[in-house]
């Protein structure tokens, strides 16, 4: 019995290639059954996301991994009507390298956004579908169950998920570092642009409830307010909300500063020291630089947010070595402690399941 991984990811295949070879959720069971029926394949699971498509296979005792890779490659070619050169984007891993790869994938180490956690759920789902389709057996079961342990271990014992890596996420992170729980935070959007909408939605996804939208074109403000479940106000009224709001996201196309010390100062006394977080997403800037000097006022502009996002990416990259060391420990443990306890059986779980199905 040998493990094989065959597939592509965002690093080896372009979006156009990735579009060609992907499985919809509805078609996965059928594809799994076809792969499992291939000569030499004892167990199979398919992980298909927007950034990768990987087949995790166990070759039966009579077949070599090379044979299985050939068979699966041919099947993919037929199934998706691929040209020979399309297969150039595919890679394969064998034995320990397969385990190492899956553990790294589940830990987010192989993702486009390093350390992202969505992949963990996607791997879980892929395994669940394969299990329900009866194409996994003792070996893949152990491998996948182990990869979930590794994913959790890497996430909790390293800082690979720590630190925001996009402008929107940095805005949210900064807000959380000021306010903690965002549930009671009120947001004021000055300007109804796309980037404001996205940042507001990011904040809402972390609990921020009340959103007030103000825009020169009131219709646009109403439209956005309806979309995100907020309240629209006229552009000349936003300064009346300054006492209540906690976060201001400004993204107007004004050629001058919209928010200045003079606009904020009257409200600061009534705020009784409550912090105010301003996010300036426009260029030229909406928020006058001297606003930063005000007590309890925090301002971040696009440059600062982008710089922080880059720093976040760099910090995650620095964690890679340590993360892979953990992954390698788990691979060794898997091969020395888990696999020896897994006795190969000719009938195999997968075979039984398929027979029963």
């Amino acid at each position: 019995m040998s493990f094989v991984c065959f597939g592509y990811n965002h690093e080896t295949a372009s979006v156009a290639s990735r579009e060609k070879v992907s499985f919809t959720e509805a078609r996965l069971p059928e594809a799994l059954a076809q792969v499992r029926a291939l000569d030499g394949v004892a167990e199979a699971a398919i992980l298909s996301t927007c950034n990768r498509m990987e087949l995790y296979l166990v070759a039966d005792e009579e077949s070599t991994t090379g044979h299985v890779i050939d068979r699966v490659g041919k099947w993919l070619q037929d199934h998706f009507e691929l040209e020979e050169e399309d297969l150039g984007a595919f890679y394969h891993r064998e034995e320990k390298a397969t385990a190492r790869h899956l553990f790294a994938v589940a830990s987010g180490l192989n993702s486009m956004v390093l350390g992202e956690t969505e992949i963990f759920g996607q791997v879980k789902k892929a395994y669940a579908v394969a299990q329900q389709s009866g194409t996994t057996g003792k070996f893949l079961n152990r491998l996948f169950q182990r990869c979930f342990t590794v994913g959790k271990h890497v996430r909790t014992h390293t800082n690979i998920t720590r630190g925001a890596t996009s402008v929107g996420a940095v805005g949210v992170e900064m807000a959380e570092k000021i306010f903690g729980d965002l549930k009671k935070c009120q947001i004021l959007l000055i300007g109804a642009g796309e980037i404001s909408r996205r940042t507001a939605q990011s904040l809402q996804s972390r609990g921020a409830s009340a959103v007030i939208v103000s825009n020169r074109s009131h219709d646009k403000a109403v439209e956005l307010a309806e979309e995100i479940g907020g309240r629209a106000i006229r552009f000349n009224e936003w300064d009346q909300e300054l006492v209540k709001v906690d976060i201001i996201i400004s993204s107007t196309a004004a050629p001058h500063h919209v928010v200045t010390q003079e606009t904020l100062r009257p409200s600061l006394k009534q705020r009784e020291g409550r912090p105010l977080f301003l996010v300036d997403l426009s260029l030229p800037r909406d928020i006058a630089p001297e606003v930063k000097q005000l007590e309890s006022v925090y301002v971040h502009d696009l440059d600062a947010l982008q710089r922080l996002a880059e720093a976040g990416k760099e910090r995650r990259r620095e964690q890679l070595e340590f993360c892979y060391a953990l992954v390698d420990q788990h691979v060794t443990e898997f091969y020395t402690k888990v696999l020896p306890r897994t006795r190969p059986s000719n009938s195999g779980d997968a075979n039984n399941s398929l027979t029963n199905a």
Binding site: H157, E176, K177, G180, E272, G273, K292, R307
Partner: protein, 264 residues
Amino acid sequence: MVFIEFGLLIASTIAFALACVMSWRALREHRRASVWFRVGFMTLGFALQCAFLSLRGQSLGRCPLTSGFEVLIFVTWSIALFYFLVGGGYRLSLLGFFTAPLIVIFQCVALSLFHPVNLPTVDPGLGSVAPVDYWLEFHAALALISYGAFALAFVAGVMFLIQDRYLRVGKTGVFFHQLPPIRYLTQAIGRLLWLGFLLLSVGILAAFKMESFPGFYKLIAISLVWLAYGAVIAMRLVGSLGGRRLATITVAAFIFPILSCLFL
């Protein structure tokens, strides 16, 4: 007995020093496991402090607040006590990172004042070293426990100023991700100030019930502490203090309890 007490104190100081090392390691290597070691060493240090104070109390037959050495140890014990109360309650990560060095410094100063020969112990024939005035003990204990609250407010203030700087400059340094949100820190500072102030107030009121006059300088020193923190709380109440100013003043105000220790 004195040497057992001394050993306990040394061991406690080492435990807190190890907590400092573990905190630093956790930060440098980004390993969360070290955080648990830090909490473990802090707990051990606190337990050893409790054992020391208990033995000292038995030796004296009263609350162990009879010398500058004991006063300092009592203050460090109350700092550790508030660390466990506040750190857990407010989920203030990194509180231990800043608290442990403060405790180590205080205990090292205390150890430098330690003279086994001069250390008062109970005389089996006479009872305690001096007749026990329970109001005096109540007054001294409450006043020093309030110092623990002020010390933690000082630590939270330092944490606030570091986090505030990160947020203003728009850079994330070693502490950024571990430091708590500034709103929580502001709340913690405010509550610790109130708690310390109330304890100190009750402590001062208890002094009026004492059998003997506590001494002019002592009274002036403790009154200045009370006035200083009372002024901070009053400024906060009238709303003239934002988070940064509150943190700055709280950090600066800690000089009053420190200086007052010279007169206790």
